[in-house]
């Protein structure tokens, strides 16, 4: 399994792709620094910062886009290049293959997305506990997106396109109109986890998020179910 993991890591870490992703992840911190330099008034870890930087920028943009790009590529590139048979014709269990791919995605995405949020928070003097909570919620969100879009990469070559439609239209536009979408949205889970763990710091999400226990169950179910579906898909699909 280590061999597949290392190979997958190498596939995900194209030089240009990594530079672009790093830049994207650095944007929240750069923004905070810019406001510090020329802004009037201090930014703090509440209100505008939570609503704009944590919610709109990170959970609504950086987290899904970075994770989806990597996760759909995990199997998507193997299918597009027709190299998947190299993996499935080795005496390695299907579970190991899916796990190796998912881990490779997480090893790249988790540090980037968590650092993106935590560093920006540190710059506005967030408390250690607030940063810890943020890291936990982002880790949950990244893992859920990774699980969903690893499967998507196995299902269709247009997985990232459908993913972008899902994030922008379903989680972005429709969730502001139809309230129940929070139950079927990874971004909704992430915000509800933040709010559930620290209601005062994340008070701006009040009334917009689903119940804390529902978010925990939702996250766990999504991660497990999509992992199993990916496994099932790999077992039943005809490999090109």
């Amino acid at each position: 399994m280590a061999e597949i993991f290392l190979l997958s890591l190498r596939q995900l870490l194209g030089r240009w792709r990594l530079i672009v992703i790093l830049l994207l992840a650095a944007l929240p911190s750069l923004l905070v620094l810019l406001i510090r330099a020329i802004g009037e008034g201090e930014m703090a870890f509440h209100g505008e910062f939570v609503g704009v930087v944590i919610d709109a920028m990170i959970t609504g943009g950086i987290m899904p886009i970075v994770t989806m790009t990597l996760a759909t590529a995990a199997f998507g590139n193997e299918l597009e290049d027709k190299t998947l048979y190299f993996l499935v014709l080795k005496p390695v269990s299907r579970v190991s293959i899916v796990l190796a791919k998912l881990l490779a995605v997480l090893v790249v995405a988790l540090p980037l997305v968590i650092a993106s949020g935590v560093v920006a928070s540190a710059l506005v003097n967030a408390e250690a506990q607030q940063m810890g909570i943020l890291a936990i919620a982002l880790a949950a969100g990244v893992t859920a997106y990774a699980s969903v879009f690893t499967l998507a990469g196995l299902l269709t070559p247009r997985a990232l396109a459908y993913g972008l439609v899902y994030v922008l239209v379903w989680e972005g536009l429709l969730s502001t109109i139809v309230s129940g979408i929070g139950y079927l949205s990874v971004r909704g889970y992430t915000l509800a986890l933040l709010h559930g763990m620290d209601e005062s710091s994340f008070a701006v999400f009040e009334g917009r998020v689903i119940e804390f226990p529902a978010a925990i169950v939702g996250t766990v179910v999504v991660i497990a179910a999509f992992f199993l579906l990916a496994l099932y898909r790999l077992r039943t699909m005809d490999v090109p």
């Binding site: 597949i4 027709k82 014709l89 080795k90 005496p91 390695v92 269990s93």
Partner: protein
């Protein structure tokens, strides 16, 4: 290893369809140690058949076993099998040696470095082994893929069009390597659409046409058998009974029957005689011929295509 009466690869009544297209149609075969060539024109279903044997695709019907086990979702079995697919894609960033070594590790080879060196030596690419695969020529890439296929000393080796992109000299070297591997007691299945590639190499040939297994055995023997094979021809005329009666009198005709749509089905041993006599008979008796068509997939033409190309 294997009990002598169980074939290494056993395919029973296997079919594969995609929607309404039948790619492989009720194929049964068994393959023993030695070199077997799977021949057929492009689109005959060779690759689909090989994929089902390798376990990459599920048969729509029928069963496959290798060493008595089903290959689908059976990772442990792949320790004993080496597969080289039709796709020439590789991970371009790996060097040749990294690629072969990676395969060896995943196949659970104990002495990885030695096995890798030996496999690369066997395909004669030791000089280029430290260059990235992305910089290889087509022939070199094919040989390095072959090295990765045999690095774990598999007992059964399945190669789909392995000679694409190789030059005549590499072909000779390939033949020598295959012979060596076969002499070591391995079972080798090589597909090709060019007879010349495998005629001197394969102990036995399987001929596939339009998804069906059309013939098997030594290719010269297949050629000889073809002449004895009766052909069935369908004839539509203005008077089926009259032409049937006339045709029965010809020597080379085995049987004549009237079909459901009032057409005549003729089974003939000598198609040339039928070709010459039919118009004459029709003209003499004032029968109008509306349609004359062969019912068999034209094995004859397929075979000559393969032999001559």
């Amino acid at each position: 290893m294997n009990s002598p009466n169980v074939p290494v690869i056993a395919v029973k009544g296997i079919s594969k369809w995609f929607g309404s297209v039948v790619a492989v149609n009720d194929v049964s075969l068994s393959i023993d140690p030695g070199i077997t060539g799977l021949l057929g024109p492009n689109g005959a279903g060779k690759t689909t058949l090989l994929k089902m044997i390798e376990g990459l695709a599920s048969p729509s019907d029928g069963t496959v076993t290798i060493f008595g086990q089903t290959p689908r979702n059976n990772p442990a079995l792949h320790r004993r099998i080496g597969v080289m697919s039709e796709h020439e894609a590789v991970y371009g960033f790996q060097t040749g040696r990294q690629f072969v070594e990676w395969s060896a590790k995943l196949h659970g080879v104990a002495a990885t470095a030695e096995a890798t060196a030996l496999a690369i030596e066997r395909v004669g690419l030791a000089d280029a082994q430290n260059r990235p695969l992305g910089t290889y020529s087509r022939g070199m890439r094919q040989r390095m893929r072959l090295a990765a296929t045999i690095v774990h000393e598999p007992e059964a080796i399945i190669l789909d069009e392995p000679l694409n992109g190789t030059d005549p000299r590499q072909r000779i070297e390939f033949h020598d390597l295959m012979r060596q591997l076969a002499d070591e007691g391995r079972t080798i299945l090589i597909s090709s659409h060019i007879l010349e590639e495998v005629e001197t190499l394969a102990d036995r040939i399987l001929l596939m046409v339009s998804g069906k297994l059309a013939a098997s055995g030594d290719y010269r023997a297949i050629r000889a058998k073809l002449d004895e094979q009766p052909y069935s021809v369908r004839i539509v005329t203005s008077d089926s009974r009259k032409i049937a009666a006339a045709l029965v009198e010809l020597d080379s005709i085995e049987s004549v029957s009237i079909g459901a749509e009032d057409d005549v089905i003729v089974l003939s041993k000598n198609v040339a005689v039928l070709q010459r006599s039919l118009p004459r008979i029709a003209k003499d008796r004032g029968i109008r011929l509306e349609r004359v068509e062969p019912l068999d997939e034209s094995l004859e033409s397929v075979f000559s295509y393969i032999v001559e190309s």
